[in-house]
């Protein structure tokens, strides 16, 4: 820990940090643009200049860039000297030459890092008399807007997009003061993490179109800390609302989970809350089979009356622990199931066993420290997208090692990348077809799911057997690593794949305790509900001919196949959105979405995290657990259910304490969900009445709706947004970290529930289920856009869902007597044949998208060639409007 002197103040610097990081970590404001805590330094913007002194006698010093300066014992610097501040002022003055004065109409306004830095350096006067450089904007797809004139050329976007996220269709073009950041031609940004551009850009070049279409000033948003609902990783998000609509989702920094970045499904998928398919009020089917709206009390009374009969409850891996437990208590433990299929329960049972074992299960951020990764049959980018971003950083460990050996600082980003070139730490992928991570993989094997399992078995055997083989090569790679990591998951719906992965991790761990295993679960709360009850089987419960079935937030009709519900007399559905199950219900009760209800969710690594309601639901809409409370049994608030969960399930003890309960206050105040800068509450409904309506009271959490309350010093798990004086953008996060990139100063968000002590004995693999025709498997391919029930309802993402295809190798196509772009039908589903020799032999891959569910139980013999079929241009790239202006 070198001691440095900044304006004569002694500061303990963290070894390995650059000066800018040290200054920010110690609360000293220095403006910057191109440096990013996750992406290091390149020295482009020259904004973070300070004066560095050569020795104790040096009184003059010279201008240095703090982001490019390592700290050494006794070094002296000045942030405040006139030289330094005048230089920083000149940088902003020069950056502003071509920057439009469009703050009043700019979406970034009020949350703009450029505004903040301009105010920080004190630049206010314009002396440039020339014309400004202007650019033509591009259409970049339905998610990201482009306004190049605002660009200050910090290069963050291309560094993020190309270097960090592995994208190759956004680049810097041209030179001098006409550098253009965009695509070679207009079109959809081809990267699953493009939304982070909105947050990475320090000004308003890349904007969130889902916010743009119903834009609200950032300071007028009402926000809360939420947990992303789009997959099992549990990324932390801020969800923001105005006028009862979710306006946007931003990243909520968590040093162990998602760091600074989200995937596009998470960021844009939350727009499903605004779907026109939301269920607005309770309905009851009348004698003619039509729904009649009923009041909630009437509907509840009707359901209560049914409770005296034979009732079962089907829970849901996408509903909160609170709601699931409330259902379980209502119907009784023996009549409750968690709503997953048998395969899903088996798979998540394996994950639970691994979490409970002494195998090392790293957090997502920790994944970035592993130096050899084997991906076993998990389509990471499509199924647990944010993890792919972490794997992309992990393969750079060899580069970081090279840099350390060469004496290059880790933060010296361009130099490290220059040195490492194309060297990558090993990443081996076992998958049935091409994978989005292939570009960074050292070795890929295209294998049918059962062959993946066989390969893993061979790798385990090859650990102690030197006979040359692919398996031995992979085993050697893993054995040679300091920290090998096995990544797998549920995307191929194979428990054997998970079991084999766990067995391999255990075998490696016996040689190397640094071995890790990271298993991706299916849905936001799959692990949580499996912890409540993973034995109850929906099919068995339904087989007992219950009179009444209560389905909680689960499209069980699609999940299990509709015929199971055919004989149910009273189907009571509690859900937020219409779906095939809700459509056949006898009584439907409108539930709050995640944005309107508090809930606790357990992610794939067993971390219980609380998601807070962003806004009060509309009239008639109620959180699921409140509806269930009202039906009888325990009348509990959210925290009551959390305590109940802790009491009932030993492993869920942490649920009660993973965030403060509704009694929590800061100096007697609640925590306000809106910023103190909010301008418009009085005006919001002024067209209706100039009298400000009373704000709804939050009985469930210590947060207050709208403005009243304390903003400062909220614990991390309750902080509704990040803001700090002078730091209005997301860059303010460093004010809440104990050091740049470190944990939150005000406590952890969430609790890891497993201590991991039991010895894993090794899973018995079940016998391979051979398909009836031994010549091919039908494999469902998960798609980041298309395979998630809720985000499919987000307006923009719904345009990105692929059309049905059947992808297969030329040999498989020949055996099926079809060729490229033929049509292949299964019942109503018509797929376009795509011949692709990167698909494993004997496999036919179809997309898991709305409407293709029936294919899961299909057999190849059931597929029929469609006569006279005309294939769409590109089924993977759905028909997009190619410019914003054509419509």
């Amino acid at each position: 820990m070198p001691t440095i002197f900044v304006d004569d103040r002694a500061i303990e610097a963290k070894t390995g940090d650059n000066l800018l990081e040290v200054l920010l970590s110690n609360g000293i404001d220095v403006p910057y643009f191109c440096w990013h805590p996750a992406m290091g330094s390149v020295g482009a913007c020259r904004q973070c200049a300070v004066v560095g002194y050569a020795n104790p006698d040096d009184t003059r010093g010279r201008i240095i860039m703090s982001c490019m300066t390592p700290v050494t014992e006794g070094a002296r610097f000045s942030v405040q000297s006139d030289n330094a501040s005048s230089f920083r002022n000149s940088v902003v003055e020069n950056l502003m030459l071509n920057h439009p004065h469009d703050c009043p109409v700019c979406e970034e306004g009020g949350e703009c890092h450029l505004q903040d830095m301009t105010v920080m350096v004190g630049h206010s006067d314009r002396r440039y008399k020339g014309l400004k450089t202007t650019f033509r904007n591009q259409y970049l797809g339905p998610l990201i807007g482009h306004e190049m004139n605002r660009c200050i050329t910090c290069y963050r976007c291309v560094r993020y997009y190309q270097d960090y996220a592995g994208g190759n269709d956004l680049a810097a073009f041209g030179s001098r003061d006409r550098v253009f950041f965009g695509r070679a031609e207009p079109g959809l940004l081809d990267n699953e993490f493009s939304g982070n551009l909105v947050e990475v850009c320090p000004t308003g070049v890349f904007t969130d179109k889902t916010l743009s279409k119903h834009y609200t000033r950032k300071w007028d948003l009402q926000s809360s800390p939420t947990v992303c609902q789009a997959c099992s990783l549990g990324c932390n998000t801020y969800t923001s609302e105005r006028y009862g609509e979710v306006r946007r989702v931003h990243n909520r920094y968590h040093n162990e989970v998602n760091g600074y970045f989200l995937c596009d499904r998470g960021r844009f998928g939350a727009q499903h809350v605004n779907s026109p398919r939301r269920i607005p009020r309770a309905g009851m089917r009348n004698a003619d089979g039509l729904y009649e709206p009923v009041s909630i009390p009437d509907a509840l009374d009707k359901v209560k009356a049914l409770l005296n009969g034979k009732v079962i409850g089907i829970g849901s891996p996408r509903a909160s622990l609170e709601s699931n437990e409330a259902l379980r208590q209502l119907v009784g433990p023996d009549q409750y199931c968690n709503g997953m299929t048998s395969t899903e329960r088996e798979m998540h049972g394996v994950i639970l066993e691994v979490l409970a074992s002494n195998l090392n299960v790293p957090s997502m951020m920790e994944v970035e420290t592993f130096d050899a990764i084997l991906v076993v049959g998990e389509d990471v980018t499509n199924h647990a997208p944010r993890l792919a971003l972490s794997i992309r950083q992990a393969v750079r460990n060899i580069g970081q090692q090279l840099a350390a050996d060469t004496g290059i600082s880790q933060w010296h980003d361009a130099a490290v990348r220059e040195l490492e070139q194309d060297e990558k730490s090993p990443l081996v992928i076992l998958s049935p077809m091409t994978d989005r991570l292939d570009d960074i993989a050292s070795d890929t094997h295209r294998l049918a799911p059962n062959d993946i399992v066989s390969m893993v078995k061979q790798i385990i055997e090859a650990i102690d057997d030197n006979k040359p083989s692919h398996a031995r090569d992979i085993a050697s790679t893993l054995l040679a690593a300091k920290r090998p990591l096995i990544v797998s998951g549920t995307s191929l719906r194979s428990a054997n794949i998970l079991k084999a992965s766990a067995n391999l991790a255990a075998a490696l761990a016996s040689k190397n305790p640094g071995t890790g295993i990271f298993l991706c679960a299916s849905e936001v709360n799959s692990i949580g509900v499996a912890m409540i009850d993973n034995t109850g089987n929906a099919e068995d419960l339904l087989g007992n001919k219950p009179e009444t079935v209560i389905v909680l937030e689960n499209d069980i009709d699609t999940r299990l196949g509709g015929s199971l519900l055919d004989e149910v007399q009273n189907l009571v559905v509690i859900d937020a959105m219409d779906n095939p199950t809700a459509s056949r219900s006898s009584i439907v009760l409108p539930a709050a979405s995640f944005a309107e209800a508090e809930g606790t969710f357990v992610n794939n690594e067993g971390r219980a995290q609380r998601s807070m309601a962003t806004f009060a639901p509309a009239e008639h809409i109620t959180p699921g657990y409140q509806l269930l409370s009202a039906l009888g049994g325990d009348q509990l608030s959210a925290s009551g259910w959390q305590q109940k969960l802790a009491a009932e399930h030993a492993l869920l003890a942490g649920v009660a304490t993973c965030a403060p309960d509704e009694q929590f206050r800061i100096e007697g105040s609640r925590i306000a969900r809106m910023t103190h800068r909010a301008s418009g509450r009085t005006a919001m409904l002024a067209n209706v009445s100039v009298h400000e309506p009373q704000q709804p009271l939050d009985t469930e959490s210590p947060l207050a709706f709208t403005m009243e309350g304390n903003q400062a010093r909220a614990p991390a798990s309750l902080r509704p947004y990040t803001w700090s004086p002078g730091w209005n953008s997301n860059q303010s996060i460093h004010k809440f970290q104990d050091e740049v990139g470190g944990p939150d100063k005000s406590g952890a968000t969430g609790i890891r529930l497993f201590t991991g002590s039991t010895e894993l004995t090794g899973f018995e693999l079940s016998e391979f289920e051979l398909s009836e025709e031994a010549d091919a498997d039908l494999i469902g391919q998960v798609h980041i856009f298309g395979s998630d029930e809720l985000s499919n309802e987000a307006a923009e993402l719904s345009t990105l869902i692929p059309q049905p295809y059947a992808r297969m190798s030329s040999a498989t196509a020949a055996s099926l007597k079809v060729s490229h772009q033929d049509g292949l039908a299964f019942g109503d589903i018509i797929m376009t044949v795509l011949v692709d020799d990167e698909v494993a032999e004997r496999c036919v891959v179809y997309p898991i998208t709305p409407g293709t569910e029936a294919l899961e139980s299909a057999r190849l013999s059931g597929l029929q060639k469609v006569a006279g079929y005309t294939a769409p241009a590109d089924p993977l790239r759905p028909s997009l409007i190619t410019t914003d202006r054509t419509s």
Binding site: A44, I152, T153, A172, R176, D177, V179, L419
Partner: protein, 428 residues
């Protein structure tokens, strides 16, 4: 032994020297006596002893530069790059060497590569030098056929493959690290140093980038020794230098003269003095990115330290002359237009600052200047002008003619602004 080693094969010979002529005049003797026979470290010591300084502009001691290359470990590539991207306005010395005597450069590169254990070399050459490109390629082919290049040179353990890479044409590619990025197929953006190319250069490997003239000198130092080389100079620095003059002089051209030749001698004897009817107002001693000097500096010897003391840099040693009938503001505006255009766009002071300077200068020259423009020019020249303020030396170099112009020709700026016009009659 000649006192004009670099141009001995060029002076008085109309064509260009091919392999046969080159060898008949003693060419490749240094290679033959060195490769596989002399310890590379001994060559390095010789270079250090000779105190050869880089001829590309910065004047960094070549031997010291090479000594930073780490000891060879493993079989990874090590690179030698000749910077032949001669794009400095007013500079045309390397072109002469490459067009007229390409083997001289190749021999210097073989010796240099041997010294630093480089196995691959590139000549990164300006695209417009198509004659030099053709002749270099022809020379490389001939040398390779004769066993002087390629695998196991002269049956030794030493191999060196040499390629000509034609630049796509940006001035910034002459900056050695931007050159390396360009050679890798990336944007020609300079790299931050450290790490230096000696440690992490082309494709992350140890790399030396030297100017063409520097590499040509290596041949003669190896052939004739350090003492001979040092004796060639008139002052502190050894060797000869290609000096040039352009502008309104009687005989613009390029001449090999002893290091330390007084500026007056170059201008009056070799360039024949000013053209008829013109007086000397000032000059850029080392190319477009050096500070103006004025007639009072005519007796300054052209070597690194003395020119520095006079307030400028020797740069490439090719002078641009400003005469009394040409507008200083117009000349500076023209230079800044070039530098603004050639900014790579990476760092703020250069990317935004140079076009702003250009905008002001264009306005002043057009008669639309305002008094406060002078303050902005002063401030910008300081903001952009200091090494370290910017990512590389491009913008500080660009500010040298401006800052010195504001010092020596301030009255011309004021005349433009107050008279709302350029006082010089523009000649067509």
């Amino acid at each position: 032994m000649t006192d004009k080693p670099l141009t001995k094969n060029i002076i008085g010979f109309d064509g260009h020297t091919d392999l046969a002529r080159y060898e008949s005049l003693g060419g490749y003797a240094a290679v033959r006596k060195t490769i596989g026979r002399t310890d590379p470290d001994a060559v390095l010591e010789l270079l250090k002893d000779a105190n050869l300084r880089g001829r590309g502009g910065a004047g960094f001691p070549t031997g010291m530069k090479w000594s930073f290359v780490p000891k060879k470990e493993g079989n990874g590539h090590r690179y030698l790059v000749a910077n032949a991207d001669e794009m400095e306005p007013g500079t045309f010395k390397d072109r002469l060497l490459m067009e007229k005597d390409p083997h001289q450069l190749i021999e210097g590169m073989i010796l240099s590569a041997y010294t630093i254990s480089a196995d691959v070399g590139y000549i990164f050459i300006r695209g417009e030098y198509h004659v030099a490109i053709a002749r270099l390629q022809e020379a490389i082919n001939a040398a390779t056929a004769s066993g002087l290049l390629g695998e196991h040179i002269l049956d030794s353990e030493f191999s060196f493959r040499l390629h000509v890479h034609v630049s796509a044409g940006r001035y910034i590619c002459g900056e050695e690290t931007a050159l390396l990025n360009s050679l890798e197929g990336k944007r020609a953006t300079p790299r931050a140093k450290p790490p230096f190319p000696q440690v992490s250069g082309l494709w992350g490997r140890p790399t030396i980038v030297n100017n063409v003239e520097t590499l040509c000198n290596v041949t003669h130092i190896v052939a004739n020794g350090a003492d001979w080389f040092k004796s060639l100079g008139l002052g502190v620095d050894g060797g000869t230098k290609l000096f040039g003059a352009s502008g309104r002089v009687a005989r613009p051209g390029c001449w090999e003269l002893p290091m330390g030749t007084p500026i007056r001698e170059i201008l009056e004897e070799h360039a024949g003095g000013m053209a008829e009817g013109y007086q000397l107002k000032g000059f850029l001693p080392g190319g477009a990115s050096t500070d103006f000097l004025t007639p009072e500096h005519l007796d300054v010897p052209m070597e690194y330290e003395t020119v520095m003391q006079a307030g400028s840099r020797m740069g490439t040693g090719t002078m641009i002359i400003l005469d009394d009938r040409s507008c200083a503001v117009g000349m500076i505006a023209n230079l800044e237009k070039f530098f603004a255009r050639e900014s790579c766009g990476f760092c703020t002071p250069c990317r935004e600052g140079l076009p702003w300077v250009q905008e002001i200068l264009d306005r002043i020259e057009a008669g639309n200047g305002e008094p406060d423009d002078m303050d902005v020019l002063e401030r910008q020249s300081q903001f952009i002008g200091a090494i370290g303020n910017t990512h590389c030396a491009h913008a500080p170099g660009a500010m040298e003619p401006l800052a010195s112009g504001l010092k020596y020709f301030r009255d011309e700026f004021i005349t433009h602004i107050e008279g709302k016009a350029c006082p010089y009659q523009r000649e067509v």
